[in-house]
Symmetry: C2
Subunit: 355 residues, 2 copies
């Protein structure tokens, strides 16, 4: 990736680091943040000079539009450390492009590539000690943008804040993942914002997910809202389904997020000679395949979740177990992916970018 | 309304009032706030003591869940001043109930009635000079709740802030309102959060509304997302359609907000002996009625918009004008409603509550 022009970033370093107080072996996802953060404000129609400051709370007006109208988007990315202590990003250009796609759908200004990419690299580099070596250790990167303009009229804000915060992370899901197939609630409308990483898409899932949690399921696999017959995606990850030796995943649409892990797994599966079909799987197909034994695997794919095998799904009150299989596609693809991310295998795709 | 127990509220008064600097004749909606605001935090599983402080920015963590997952809800209400300088609320119990319905759908804690109602009355009373006499002058009240808990894991927050801010207001729409009927974009999914006053519902409409604005239309009348054949609601108001002498409005549903103004107008129309039918109107019906001259009126109804007559609608690239009529249902119902709100007519419904 080449940037047309580099940018100046003002840096105010933290007077001391919190790193010694962190137990990197026992991290809860997204709970602890590094010493620094990046801030870049949009006002008077233009992006201002980015600054890096110590991670800390900031002042905001009670009438800021993000509080009232949810004008907010984000990305999820990770940094990985290789055996030589080099730090790498994975396909950051994809996150950057999707961020601005989300911005457009939410009527927010696009963030210039140099602010996003140079900002990301600079703040990660400053906190590179927080990226720990070893498979499974990552620094989770959270670029996000919020509407900071004042006033409770329901209109796009004229002021915004773009920020990047960083959180050391291990896996998102610990333990087995069981899912419920959505029969009533929905994640996204046709012509809605399901394809955007818009804040409101996530809180909309909290209540149905809480109901699922109470029944012992970690996630919901969403279905189309009009008929609830087609499988779409889970709350924090895209979904892959293996029936016999074919791997299916839903096509991206206005309702489905164009996941970076999803598209990487499709390419890796194709490289490995696996049979991948990008098409909607019907709930009925899934249930029939579970009943006749042709359903071999379901797994989620996402930056936070990486590749998360699903051990059972429930539909209409019946729970269907997934078989325990050797040499699963999930484990093969997870290994393919993480070896590239940690620079343990050659990156023939050109996906990794050194900090 | 009786409250089981009154609550203590700590009050820190503003050292001086901003009121002298406000031009009450030239207000932009939702742009100026009064001297005070109410804050009540939820933490450790309980609502804390409410406080009233000067209106001012507050500190919040960059990882607060409201920024990342849009866990935020609000209400819109108004206070009115009568000729005796008494200040009145309109059906605040309806807003309170809907607020907690929204809270439940967004997996947020419900706000106790005494905090909501006593908080509202206390802060409005403190800033009662900001409620100006005269039809059309109001104080717009914005109770809202945001997720303030830290951490970027996609789960409901454990900490929240309930606030009430107040903004002097005249009408929401100045000038004529023209609308486009949605053909592609949608406001809400079946099984989604359309019936909640959730922040994310509003920013989701900004981009399609911007496209409509660019074509000269102020608002969109949303249609069902699956078929785009049924009329639902507009972005900031419910919609009433008069064909011949019958007034239609869509039934409330998971996709449609249960508007307080909407339900008040239905009751007023029934009292006045108008023929009101609560059912979905098809886009096709609307277009046919416009063509054969039986379409007499379309108007929006909402707290901010009050009753807003629509002068034209566009569908599939064709603009249809509404006729200019004497004695419109819109003006009759608006007069009925505002006379009750400003205590110029007897409130036989028991809708008004004195501060």
């Amino acid at each position: 990736m080449t940037l047309n022009n580099t940018i100046e970033i003002d840096i105010v370093k933290a007077s001391s680091s919190k790193i010694a107080s962190v137990d990197f072996e026992n991290l809860t996802f997204g709970n602890i943040f590094t010493d620094h953060m990046l801030i870049c404000d949009f006002k008077d129609g233009a992006w201002q000079k980015p600054i890096i400051t110590p991670y800390e709370p900031f002042l905001i007006d009670p009438s800021a539009k993000v509080f009232h109208y949810g004008q907010a988007i984000f990305e999820g990315m990770k940094a990985y450390k290789d055996e030589n202590d080099d730090v790498w990003l994975f396909r950051p250009d994809e996150n950057f492009k999707r961020f601005n796609k989300s911005a457009k759908r939410m009527a927010m200004p696009e963030v210039p590539e140099n602010i996003f990419m140079e900002g990301l690299k600079t703040v990660v580099d400053l906190d590179r000690e927080w990226v720990k070596k070893g498979l499974g250790n990552t620094l989770y990167l959270r670029p996000f943008m919020i509407a900071t303009g004042h006033g409770v009229i329901a209109q796009p804000s004229s002021e915004y804040r773009f920020m990047i915060i960083l959180s050391p992370a291990k896996s998102y899901y610990s333990g087995e993942v069981k899912v419920i197939i959505a029969e009533h609630y929905s994640r996204a409308a046709n012509g809605g914002i399901g394809a955007a990483k818009a804040a409101g898409n996530y809180s909309a899932q909290f209540y149905p997910t809480k109901l699922a949690n109470e029944k012992g399921y970690q996630q919901i696999i969403w279905t189309d809202d009009a008929t609830h017959t087609k499988l779409e995606e889970a709350g924090t990850m895209n979904v892959f389904i293996r029936i016999n030796d074919t791997l299916y995943t839903a096509p991206t649409s206005e309702r489905i997020l164009d996941g970076v892990t999803r598209k990487s797994l499709i390419e890796l599966a194709q490289r490995d000679g696996l049979n991948v079909e990008v098409r909607s799987v019907l709930v009925e197909e899934l249930v029939n395949a579970a009943k006749d034994g042709s359903l071999k695997e379901i797994f989620g794919a996402g930056t936070a979740a990486v590749v998360s095998p699903i051990v059972a799904f429930a539909y209409q009150g019946t729970e269907y177990q997934l078989p325990k299989i050797e040499n699963s596609f999930a484990s093969q693809l997870k290994e393919d992916l993480t070896k590239i991310q940690y620079k343990l295998a050659e990156d023939t795709f050109g996906w990794t970018v050194k900090i």
